[in-house]
Amino acid sequence: MAKRLISLTVNGSKVEREVEDRRLLIHFLREDLRLTGAHVGCETSHCGACTVDMDGKSVKSCTVFAVQADGSNIRTIEGMAQADGSLHPLQEGFRMQHGLQCGFCTPGMIMRSYRFLQENPNPTEEEIRMGISGNLCRCTGYQNIVKAIRYAADKINQIPMKEAAE
């Protein structure tokens, strides 16, 4: 099958590759670039395990063709920590608030939260729940994910940490 050359920026680095027209962005990221943080959970864009950030929007990379990402700027979970290894406030928040268990939804959940907190830097619990409703988690029941996102929002907004409510 014919291939097409695409060039894009992934986690700050320029990438050029030839891909088939039908190749999905998730397979391009996972198999061609070996960025395996984003996962395939459902193939129907319901679960959000494949969520990455593309040109300032959350996209479900299982339903985006790699050729659609030509010229775009993509950030994945692998591009969230600082160069010195320090974690993004969301990554820290998920750990501190026990916002993950099996870890399979976590990269997508964090990438969605990353965009969500730019759309709404100081969300209520209800807004957070709505904001991540395109991402499924089977382990946590979401309660601690909500806390984790709130933790990150406070940290980004430089609000002093409160003890987590029990």
Partner: protein
């Protein structure tokens, strides 16, 4: 020795009881987990299945030629290719066989018919489309009651002449087994002389655990050395190795099974699936690594479902509410093959825990397993072997009895709870409950939720509804469950003849750091964190100096894996006992170094000191060093221990859950206003992780009770095999959870822990369903089946004349 330093050292160890942050999270939050589909081997190719569109059909012809002609296709395998290898059927854990690739006929929709192997997953998918299969449709049976009718079509022609199966006589060609427990005669007598009886058919619908990661495997056969390496989504990797050896005839030492990180299991990843077998066969045939990654539709429609239990339950009682007997008959729909993952001698799992938390003098239960044209599997979904079915049945029956007696359901429970002085309690169906204080838990729960006020509010709501002032109904659901987990004692539990022990092997390095390996396998439960906490407390080595490893059969000791809440009760016990062995040896070394008798030493958190002379002390760190250079004469060097733990009994976690819901009678929409969950899982190792497990389990219970069903039409078509149609709660629907606890240690477990992963599912489902049913009790409603979706609730309200 001041107490402050003891306290500081204790905290630094991060042992039992502390909210230690998870070590796993460091890799997971950075996208550096290692799940099966993340692995790439040189030369790796991809497998995919041709699946049957029919639920029951004869295969007339399979034409592979177009598929084989497609560039990039390496092989197309069918049952014909497997027959010479005797691999077209594989043994199931339940004593049946399951087709690896359909031979002669298909028995459920999406059954595996051919396996296509190609250079990449896209070409494999293309080739699947090119395989031409000619079918002749046969009559379909999805209803287990109809499957047992005389003259019903025979589904399993391979068993046609077999009048008995792995669990005794078969009374119909579509019958698998009859299993019973209890005293039938005494129970019938109790019912004959009962003042009050109730009887209800309580169906627990077919659901699916749907972990977010589907099943996958990656097999690599090294033909030169005759060694097979198999990566897979296995909750029980060691059992998979044994089964693989028995099926494929490869000596067990030449097979290495690796379960890397697993993206949720919930029981779905206990069984052995055709995909695993075919990746191995493919690698043997082609000599290159073969990866198989299941799609979501295949996962939902072909891998281990749960429930599909149709329970006719009865209670006998006195007029003032003392239960005098329980009787139940169950029709269990096992689908096309009996691939249940139960301990081998328990074809209905531990269903006989169905007398629940109540002191019921006599009981009798009988379960008939039935074949239908549905997918095989069974028993999965965050529940220890049919315990959730049992808990659902008894908790619904109690509410129905309360209604009949015109008694408050909490009061009826209170009246029948097993009392603290009765433990160890021998149940009518033969189990010995280890420990519990049920009334204390019940009392705490009722007070915390403000039960009396809620009932008063509900009475007012009913009056307002009847007066036309509101269209909202209110339901209060109480559930008091007892689980049976930690399978299990080898005297009654085995899987294919292997006792259900578990194991821990620990090696302390010279600098006082350690590695411990276990036979269990975490799928999100946080074993790398919690096992290290147990070992920290037992050995005095800080948890962050202990690496925990599981899942590699070449390095980890043999164990039966993680399901049925068994990791803490069994693996955790092995962990604790291995730690104690380390400490015993360290004590001998300390005695040698301090030149005293070992009995003159006292243990204090992380070292030994001489009784009465605390300044004479050796820390575990110093003793680890000495183990490699200065041991007592005659003692072996090194500091290692192994423990294989065969539990003397199961453990019996319990809890009291209360759900408050408001229901719009005109739309059927139910909103959970409050959900309070009190759990008693014995000694608590990491309260943060326990709470996380409860949140997750309650959310799964909410999904099951309120929306999930794997539904089939009359032709056997699965109606909801994608996340488009199968209900998984999002953050929006999921209620807020209030958690609480009491702590009654298990007397027979080394640290008193009981296990907790499945309690919220077992207790949660009846709490939701009782709340829903409770809303209609005063309007004549007795029982409505799950799932309680809005259209179904609305239909029920209409049936009772409450809505138009």
């Amino acid at each position: 020795m001041n107490s402050q330093s003891v306290q500081q050292r204790q905290e630094k160890l991060e042992g039992i009881g502390c909210k230690r942050k998870r070590v796993e999270d460091i890799r997971f939050v950075q996208g550096k987990g290692n799940y099966v589909d993340d692995f790439v081997f040189p030369g790796m190719v991809f497998g995919d299945f041709v699946r049957s569109p029919y639920a029951h059909a004869r295969i007339k012809k399979i034409d592979k030629s177009a598929a084989l002609a497609l560039p990039g296709v390496k092989a197309v395998l069918t049952a014909e290719d497997l027959i010479p290898l005797n691999l077209h059927y594989m043994p199931t854990l339940a004593g049946d066989v399951q087709a690896v690739l359909a031979h002669e006929k298909v028995l459920f929709q999406n059954q595996e018919v051919a396996f296509v192997i190609a250079e990449d997953r896209y070409i494999a998918a293309d080739a699947v489309e090119l395989v031409q299969v000619e079918y002749e449709e046969l009559p379909v049976l999805v209803d287990p009651f109809k499957a047992m009718e005389p003259g019903a079509p025979v589904l399993r022609e391979d068993l046609k002449d077999k009048t008995s199966g792995a669990h005794g006589p078969r009374k119909h060609p579509n019958h698998i087994f009859t299993w019973e427990a209890g005293d039938k005669q005494a129970t019938d007598a109790a019912f004959d002389k009962a003042e009050v009886t109730i009887k209800e058919l309580i169906s627990y619908q077919r659901v699916h655990p749907s972990p977010l990661e589907t099943c996958a495997s990656l097999a690599s056969m090294d033909k030169i050395n005759g060694e097979l390496t198999l990566y897979g989504t296995f909750q029980a990797p060691h059992v998979v190795r044994t089964v693989a050896s028995l099926i494929a005839g490869i000596p067990e030492h030449k097979i290495r099974v690796i379960s890397p990180d697993i993206g949720g299991g919930f029981g779905n990843k206990v069984g052995v699936y055709p995909g695993y077998v075919m990746s191995v066969v493919g690698s043997i045939v082609l000599g290159v690594p073969v990866k198989w990654t299941e799609g979501r539709i295949a996962n939902l429609s072909t891998t281990a479902f749960a429930r599909d239990y149709h329970m006719t339950g009865e209670l006998a009682a006195t007029k003032d509410g003392k239960i005098t007997g329980l009787r139940a008959h169950v029709i269990a729909n096992h689908g096309a093959f009996d691939a249940c993952a139960d301990p081998t001698k328990f074809p209905a799992g531990l269903f006989s825990i169905c007398t629940g938390s109540y002191d019921i003098p006599v009981a009798h239960v009988e379960v008939d397993g039935v074949y239908t044209n549905k997918a095989p599997g069974g028993v999965a979904y965050r529940c220890s072997f049919r315990v959730t079915e049992a808990a659902y049945m008894i908790e619904r029956l109690i509410d129905i009895l309360a209604q009949k007696l015109n008694m408050d359901p909490a009061e009826l429970r209170w009246k029948n709870l097993i009392q603290p002085g009765q433990f160890p309690y021998k149940s009518a169906l033969g189990w010995e409950y280890d420990s519990g204080n049920y009334p204390a838990a019940m009392k705490k729960a009722l007070e915390a939720i403000g039960y009396q006020n809620l009932r008063a509010e509900q009475a007012q709501r009913i009056a307002d509804f009847k007066a036309g002032k509101t269209r909202d109904l209110m339901g209060i659901g109480v559930s008091f469950f007892t689980e049976i987990v930690g399978a299990g004692p080898s005297k009654n539990c085995d899987i294919l003849g292997i006792g259900m022990f578990d194991s821990c092997e620990i090696r302390v390095h010279p600098t006082g750091a350690a590695i411990a390996r276990l036979g269990t396998k975490s799928q999100g439960q946080g074993h790398e964190t919690t096992y290290a906490q147990i070992l920290a407390t037992e050995t005095g080595i800080p948890a962050d100096r202990i690496t925990i490893e599981e899942g590699d059969t070449d390095t980890a000791p043999y164990g039966l894996g993680t399901y049925g809440s068994r990791s803490t009760p069994v693996g955790g016990a092995a962990c604790s006992r291995a730690g104690r062995k380390i400490r015993q040896k360290a004590q001998m070394i300390a005695a040698h170094l301090l030149e005293v008798h070992h009995d003159d030493l006292e243990w204090d958190v992380d070292g030994f000191y001489v009784k009465g002379a605390p300044e004479k002390r050796k820390s575990m760190k110093e003793l680890a060093w000495a183990a490699y250079n200065n041991v007592p004469p005659g003692m072996e060097m090194g500091l290692e221990a192994v423990d294989y733990y065969d539990p003397p009994n199961f453990t019996y976690p319990f809890g009291a859950y209360i759900c408050v819901t408001d229901i719009d009678a005109d739309t059927g929409e139910a909103k959970v206003r409050r959900f309070y969950a009190l759990d008693d899982c014995g000694t608590r190792i990491n309260p943060m992780i326990i709470e996380g497990q409860i949140h997750g389990g309650l959310t799964e219970a909410f999904g099951i009770a309120m929306g999930q069903i794997v539904d089939y039409d009359e032709a056997g078509n699965v109606q909801n095999a994608s996340f488009m149609d199968y209900f998984l709660p999002t953050a929006v629907e999921t209620p807020h959870w209030e958690t609480d606890y009491t702590e009654t240690p298990s007397p027979h477990h080394p640290i008193g822990a009981k296990g907790v992963g499945e309690s919220p599912n077992v207790g949660g489902v009846p709490a939701f369903s009782n709340a829903l049913n409770d809303a209609f009790v005063k309007f004549g409603g007795i029982h409505t089946q799950m799932p309680h979706t809005a259209p179904r609730i609305w239909g029920y309200a209409k049936e009772l004349g409450l809505a138009a």
